[in-house]
């Protein structure tokens, strides 16, 4: 019995040690800086619904939702525009985060966190759901779960 328990424990630990980055294949380019005015224009000019995720590499919950955003982008990327907004972060650490999680959608940098201050919501992460043309449909403060993300994307697609 003890041998079986040890074998299971060893297998679990080995699996844990070998788990690498989620995506790992994306080489992150430097993030384009943005400001509230530019970001408003980006949203208004979009013909597709937009999901905006506010994140930072130092933010623990952001790490948890990053794999969900990667999966959502892979599944809905053709119909929904995904935008990342990195705040209060350094470029090298943000780039390392993007590479680690394989986040391949467009990313912007807002070091002074001016865009979320304008759009509303507190803390990091925040996820915004915009209809085509830039109308805010839903704001989710805090880490988002799979069901909520899928539901809000479906809401956008149902409009």
């Amino acid at each position: 019995m003890r041998r079986v328990a040890r074998a299971v424990l060893f297998a679990l630990l080995s699996a844990a040690c070998t788990a690498g980055g989620g995506g790992g294949t994306v080489d992150a380019a430097p993030l384009s800086p943005t400001d509230p005015g530019q970001f408003r224009l980006l949203l208004a000019a979009s013909d597709a619904p937009v999901v905006v995720n506010v994140w930072a590499s130092w933010c623990l919950p952001c790490r948890s939702e990053a794999p969900l955003l990667r999966i959502a982008h892979q599944r809905f990327g053709a119909e929904v525009r995904f935008v990342g907004l990195n705040v209060q972060d350094s470029q090298p650490q943000a780039a390392a985060f993007l590479t680690e999680f394989g986040l391949a959608f467009e990313q912007y940098s807002d070091p002074r966190r001016r865009v979320p201050s304008l759009l509303g919501g507190v803390g990091v992460p925040i996820t915004y759901f915009f209809a085509p043309g830039g109308e805010l449909v839903h704001l989710h403060s805090g880490v988002i779960d799979e069901r909520t993300l899928a539901l809000q994307i479906d809401e956008l697609l149902g409009r």
Binding site: L12, A15, A16, C17, A19, G20, G21, G22, G23, G24, L60, P61, R63, S64, E65, P67, L68, I71, A72, R75, E100, F101, G102, V137, H138, G142, V143, I144, D145, E146, R147, T148, L149, A150, L151, D154, E155, G158, R159
Partner: protein, 236 residues
């Protein structure tokens, strides 16, 4: 800080405790309410931890490098590994009177799961697939009406818990209620899964496995001659 998951968990635990209290009053618990509640609680906590670790590993997060991520439960819990852990703990901790312990825990576990699903009212996650049915509900500010999927699941689980409790009181052969509860829990999740918003197909394979194991156990216990163990205490 968000506490909505905590409220949902507390509702689930409350329903579990209430069901065990009812069983205790009906003198259906061989080892007492506290032992059964502790057993279920440890199973739930262990399931949560292992399920979260499995979800982290499957999405590419190394638990050794980022141990703090394990507390971000909202990031995902692997249903299959969580269920296996809970079942594994129950099998080991109740090994001396396994069929009877599973029977006792069956109705209570279903009631606890019903409470967890009803906790969607705190979390704001009750709604699922789009629907035009008269009782479909729209999100605030939305015109898209949807199935209240988690309420369906909660009601089905609660009804099944009540049926299991009634059956347990009638004193069926050992193990039948426990295996039926496992099959019912898997079947209810399986049936309602297509009505849930999801980024993938959902863990339907695990639900099917739970139904298969439950039905196999049910058949096995039904066909056995005589019953092993007793409802009142451990097997000598």
């Amino acid at each position: 800080m968000e506490f909505t998951l905590l409220w949902a968990a507390l509702l689930g635990m409350g329903m579990l405790w209430a069901a065990l209290w009812l069983e205790d009053r009906a003198e259906l618990l061989g080892e007492g309410r506290r032992v059964a509640f502790d057993r279920a609680l440890v199973a739930a906590v262990a399931a949560l931890a292992v399920g979260r670790l499995a979800a982290m590993i499957s999405t590419g997060t190394n638990p050794w490098a980022h141990p703090g991520d394990i507390v971000i439960v909202r990031g995902g819990v692997d249903t299959g590994f969580a269920a296996l852990t809970a079942l594994g703990w129950l099998l080991w901790s109740a090994r001396q009177r396994l069929p009877a312990a599973l029977d006792e825990l069956g109705p209570a576990a279903l009631a606890g799961l019903a409470g967890w699903h009803a906790g969607c009212l705190f979390r704001g996650t009750c709604l699922g697939a789009r629907s035009d049915l008269p009782w479909a509900v729209a999100q605030r500010g939305s015109e898209v009406s949807r199935h209240p999927t988690e309420i369906y699941a909660a009601l089905l689980l609660l009804a099944t818990a009540a049926a299991a409790f009634w059956w347990l009181r009638r004193g069926p052969r050992l193990g039948l209620v426990g295996f039926s509860a496992l099959a019912a829990a898997g079947a209810i999740r399986w049936l309602t899964e297509p009505l849930r918003p999801s980024l993938g197909a959902g863990p339907v394979g695990w639900y099917a496995a739970a139904v298969a194991v439950g039905l196999t156990g049910l058949l096995w216990q039904s066909l056995r001659r005589g019953a092993v163990g007793s409802r009142s205490g451990p097997v000598p």
